[in-house]
Subunit: 157 residues, 2 copies
């Protein structure tokens, strides 16, 4: 199923969590939940102040070694007729505040997540994973109407 | 954070959805949402009757070629103090009804998912992905108590 860029953008802007799939140093695929914001066709995910032993996260090394990865958005619901997912093939990298879209990405993170009023947006040197996608693949139990319904239900909350 | 086998089992039994990370034929890591049941230390995920063009899913070829994969369980909530995730390193394979635990896995799927009263549990030749895990890695914002809270909140629903 092909989604328009506009629909992909809306899903990325509304969905609070995605699962980022990377290749580990031992070659195994692994996924992690991430928070993120979107600026144009780029997705930014901060190394934030949620409890962690170190800001030198393995995910930074993984994307440094293997940038080709994927991002999954999906919404699980008991009513399976509402199920859908969107998967983006992305090229990921690590960026710091010298990135041209840094400030906008940060603004959008603070807007999307009120949680950052009490939790630091960064741990250590401000760092984000930045992703550019080149292919979107999607599925929905009820086709594109199911995705549009999710967007309108979410807008009402 | 180390979780006991008993806690891992409880999380697998309560959580309706997981994200399964596999290595694609082009070498890229990708994740997909799956439903599943647990029998002992094995996890079963059916190729079910949700709308799909074919039962010959790419995921079957992916695990056939690269069995080493991971399974992610996590619960996103607006209250980030309740966040947690569990990731299992698994060896995945494809099985049919000749598998010794087939019937128990099927019974548990039907028990866990009332949705299978109206949606076929299988599409085409009954087939499941079976996973055995050899390593569990986990994180929780509030440590193990956050995971225990999630389990008791879920039990009340």
């Amino acid at each position: 199923m092909n989604l328009s860029d506009s629909l992909v953008h809306q899903l990325l802007d509304k969905m609070p969590v995605a699962r980022f799939a990377v290749t580990r140093s031992d070659g195994r695929a692994e996924a992690m939940p991430i928070v993120f914001s979107r600026v144009g066709n780029q997705i930014f995910s901060p190394i934030d102040g949620k409890p962690k032993k170190t800001a030198d996260l393995e995910r930074l090394r993984h994307v440094g070694k293997t940038p080709e990865s994927t991002l999954l958005l999906d919404s699980y619901q008991k009513d399976w007729s509402k199920l859908w997912w969107l998967r983006l093939d992305v090229r990921a990298g690590v960026c710091t505040s010298s990135h041209g879209d840094w400030c906008e990405a940060v603004d959008r993170l603070r807007e999307k997540y009120p949680q950052y009023r009490s939790i630091p947006l960064f741990k250590g040197t401000p760092t984000m994973i930045v992703m550019n996608w080149n292919r979107a693949h999607s599925w929905a139990f009820n086709g594109i109407d199911g995705i549009r319904s999710w967007l309108s239900d979410t807008a009402e909350q």
